[in-house]
């Protein structure tokens, strides 16, 4: 493995040793923690969101829950975590400590205010104490204080005004953090850009309900008999995060550097975020589950992948999936295929038969004596559900059929009912888009 690989990235004028940062959360609550994270290999931190000491921040208890899937623990986390409950002075001292001892590790301060003066106050306090970049938290989905967090992220003019106010007050770069609890993220992102934002980060947590107690019917976390719709994070939300990063990366009008997050645990997740356009990557849930040590595998895994692939720099990966990401109306529908089976490695579980019968094209017959499937090729929908359940990797693959190959029509159960049919063909002409 002699191919030289450089994991460093430039983001908002700062150089990061690698793209992996702590995101603003419990994992970045104190300098003591961040110091250990840096020592483990994280290249920077978005420190837990600061407040101005004007309002007392008290955390609900308990503050987190999780979603298990079968025996797999915590495929998602649920939290009612608030912004930092530490005095601002303490947090600023922590910045001083980190800048003093880790000068090569950029500090991004996350802040959240309620009105312009408060945003400005926090921004200046950060800049004055050595912070490299600001992240404006427009996106916390469950603040105990009405009118804050994602409520701002959903009120675009506020978002623009607060961004502009901060930009005018400080000279360091400003990044706006977006809520995914919205249909189209490019819209608020463009407002942030209008306000002067230098970068966008996404996603904050997705509003959700993790679990409801079967004994007490209280959604979790159960805060003394009350649950709340709150932030869901972790591997389960990765598709949502990729969607928003990709959409913003494809938006030419936006053209801002992106910091991606949402369900990143492995270098494979990280790679996917890079390929859809993120430059830096932030992690919380993966650390909440496994600790800071996962960065070792993020770094090593991504480096080896790049070396094997012959990619020398992370920037050569950023956005490389975007040309292949298009709307469904661009698909070549005249090209069709089916699955093919390597029965030499089949173990005879028959799950393919079950799913094809009940959710596919009824294209897989079952030989009970031999315990093997048999494919009826012209009924195969190429839905790939059989591949999804097949326990043997590589047994079921997709193959394109020659031009002109036709799939059999789904049979009507009883054509004998035709005389009773009430049906006239639809004949009106109309546009190929929805209009009122």
């Amino acid at each position: 493995m002699s191919f030289p690989v450089d994991l460093s990235v430039d983001f908002c004028g700062c150089r990061f040793k690698n793209p992996f940062l702590l995101s603003s959360s419990p994992v970045s609550n104190s300098a003591e923690m961040v110091e250990r994270a840096f020592q483990a290999g994280w290249s920077g931190v978005v420190f837990k969101t600061l407040n101005s000491d004007r309002l007392t921040i008290t955390h609900p208890s308990p503050r987190m829950h999780y979603i298990n899937y079968g025996a797999k623990r915590a495929i998602a986390y649920q939290n009612v975590e608030q912004i930092s409950d530490r005095p601002l002075r303490h947090n600023l001292l922590e910045f001083r400590y980190l800048k003093k001892h880790f000068p090569d590790y950029p500090i991004i301060a996350s802040i959240m205010g309620f009105f312009e003066d408060e945003w400005v106050y926090l921004a200046k306090a950060c800049e004055d104490n050595g912070v490299d970049i600001l992240e404006l938290n427009f996106s916390c989905p469950h603040m105990c204080i009405e009118g804050s967090g994602h409520k701002v992220g959903q009120a675009f003019h506020l978002l623009e005004r607060f961004t502009a106010a901060v930009k005018q007050a400080v000279s360091i770069p400003v990044m706006a953090k977006m809520t995914p609890n919205i249909t189209d993220m490019t819209e608020p992102a463009l407002y942030a850009k209008k306000g002067g934002a230098d970068a966008i980060s996404a996603i904050n947590t997705v509003r959700g309900i993790s679990e409801i107690g079967r004994k007490d019917w209280v959604p979790r976390p159960n805060v003394f008999g009350v649950g709340a719709i709150s932030g869901t994070s972790g591997p389960a939300v990765k598709p949502i995060g990729l969607n928003f990063i990709a959409s913003m990366a494809k938006c030419r009008e936006l053209s801002l550097p992106l910091s991606g997050m949402g369900g990143i645990e492995t270098w494979v997740d990280a790679l996917e975020y890079l390929l859809v356009g993120a430059t830096t990557l932030q992690v919380t849930s993966g650390i909440m589950h496994y600790g800071y040590r996962i960065v070792e595998d993020l770094i090593e895994g991504l480096s080896d992948y790049m070396a094997l692939k012959g990619v020398g720099r992370v920037s050569d990966l950023i956005g490389r999936a975007l040309p292949h990401l298009q709307e469904t109306d661009t698909f070549e529908l005249n090209r069709q295929g089916i699955v093919q089976y390597d029965l030499d490695v089949c173990i005879g579980c028959g799950q393919c038969h079950v799913v094809c019968s009940d959710a596919g094209g009824q294209a897989i017959e079952w030989n009970g004596r031999k315990r093997r499937p048999r494919l009826i090729e012209d009924k195969c929908l190429s839905c790939m559900l059989c591949q999804a359940v097949c326990p043997v990797p590589g047994l079921i693959t997709f193959k394109e059929m020659p031009a002109g190959w036709k799939r059999r029509e789904t049979a009507v159960k009883d054509m004998g009912l035709e005389p009773e049919l009430k049906h006239a063909p639809f004949t009106k002409e109309g546009p190929h888009e929805c209009v009122v």
């Binding site: 079968g70 025996a71 173990i347 579980c349 799950q351 315990r371």
Partner: protein, 450 residues
């Protein structure tokens, strides 16, 4: 650690998270082969699927409805040659004929679900409308319990006659506590008693035509499942010899209140056990656990021919038992007062396969020797209690005083009398006895509905 307590404690079963993790590995096969591998039709594919979809009560119901001794079978079945042998999760294919993974631990999941039912107090079984035809079941071992429970579910009044002081048969008097505890047995028995089965213990059905007379005493059908409680002996018809026990006596003694006395006789002694089956393994391993100085398993064939399960054999070796293979016991050496001093042995070599398909042991001339020992336990086979055919004189017998039945119904040659378990099969598995009981119960209900 208290050795007696250690001896009586069963190994720990799965808990809910471990059972769920195991169910997660299940491939949920179509037309599942594991279910076809269960003689009693306990339907593992169904209860594992139910567990997988968090229908835990339903999973318990599936087991309980199909195998009233689901807990015992989960623990005691040689699952690796029944349900688990058929498991697709072993990943056996043309490409990987030796397989690539372990089967789902079906027995462990099954045991867990039954223990879980006790923990949460879930009793899924329902009884049909009451019937009035009284039925007698003779013997409260697995076959008798299974038949009685099945008929009780069908609404029939069932009386279970047991010769010994307490019910359970081989599950009480024939297994060792660290494999299957009395507490576990009591839980299984309570579920059967809850169905209304009347247990009548200390009540042997014997004497001339004693079993057949039950039909005259108001019972409309009789199920015979007395089991095999006489021991084959190395020296037939010999007088009792201090220090020589049959496996039947020895294993019973460890369960029926003579534990301390038996433990005292084993501790610090040299013990030889004759035999190569599962019972012999229980004897050697228990003797080792009770603190015997040396324990020998004496077997006339070799390791590969032993009828004991592979895992049992390895476990016994790990416990420190000496396997004395290719040695045929031929008699005893005694001292004053017929007190045992040693076991006379002759070395063997393996010849051609015999009727059982295993290579037969041939004595090596002039190789006689004596293994000095304080205790010998003979585990060389069980047979029906002597004279038992007289209790049912009209019932046709097969060889070795076993009862001949229609294999589909358990019906004997006498109308109204059915039989199952070891008295029909010879030594067999608990799960096969359960299957016999179920089959006969169905046949009895058909017989009574005519």
């Amino acid at each position: 650690m208290n050795p007696a307590k250690h001896f009586k404690q069963m190994r720990k079963g799965l808990d809910l998270p471990l059972a769920i993790a195991e169910a997660d590995r299940c491939l949920l096969c179509h037309d599942a082969p594991c279910s076809k591998g269960c003689p009693a039709d306990t339907r593992p594919a169904e209860f594992i699927r139910k567990l997988r979809f968090r229908n835990i009560t339903g999973a318990i119901r599936t087991i309980k409805e199909n195998n009233i001794l689901g807990g015992a079978c989960g623990e005691l079945c040689p699952t690796h040659r029944l349900c688990e042998k058929e498991c697709s999760a072993r990943f056996i294919s043309l490409g990987r004929p030796e397989g690539a993974d372990r089967p789902i631990q079906i027995g462990k999941i099954q045991r867990f679900l039954i223990e879980h039912s006790w923990q949460i107090g879930f009793k899924p079984l329902r009884k049909a409308a009451p019937r009035f035809e009284k039925i007698a079941v003779v013997g409260s071992g697995p076959a008798g319990l299974s038949c009685a429970a099945e008929l009780a579910k069908g609404g029939y009044p069932v009386t279970l006659f047991e010769a010994r002081p307490e019910p359970g048969g081989v599950l009480r008097y024939g297994v060792v506590s660290y494999r299957f505890s009395l507490e576990f047995l009591e839980n299984e028995l309570r579920d059967i008693a809850d169905l209304g089965v009347e247990f009548t213990c200390n009540h042997p059905i014997e004497g001339p035509a004693g079993a057949e007379n039950l039909l005259k005493e108001g019972f409309r059908a009789v199920f015979l499942a007395p089991g095999l409680w006489a021991a084959e002996a190395l020296v037939p018809k010999a007088q009792p010899m201090p220090g020589v026990y049959s496996s039947v006596d020895y294993l019973s003694a460890l369960r029926d209140g003579r534990f301390k006395e038996t433990a005292r006789r084993i501790e610090g002694k040299t013990v030889a056990v004759i035999g190569g089956g599962s019972v012999a393994i229980d004897c050697v391993e228990s003797a080792a656990r009770l603190g015997a100085k040396d324990v020998y398993l004496v077997y006339r064939r070799s390791y590969a021919q032993m009828p004991a399960e592979a895992d049992e054999r390895m476990e016994a070796q790990a416990t420190g038992v000496h396997f004395l293979l290719l040695n045929q016991p031929v008699g005893y050496v005694t001292g004053r007062g017929r007190r045992l001093k040693g076991l006379k042995l002759v070395r063997t070599r393996l010849g051609e396969p015999d009727a059982s398909g295993r290579r037969s042991p041939r004595p090596v001339k002039g190789s006689d020797w004596v293994l000095n020992c304080d205790v010998v336990i003979e585990a060389i086979g069980n047979r029906p209690v002597g004279g038992s055919p007289k209790w049912y004189p009209r019932v046709k017998l097969a060889g070795h005083n076993l009862i001949k039945v229609n294999s589909k119904t358990g019906q004997t040659s006498v109308r109204g009398i059915f039989a199952g378990g070891d008295i029909v099969r010879g030594p067999a598995l608990v799960v096969q006895a359960v299957a016999d009981g179920k089959r006969a119960a169905a046949a009895i209900q058909r017989y009574l509905s005519r």
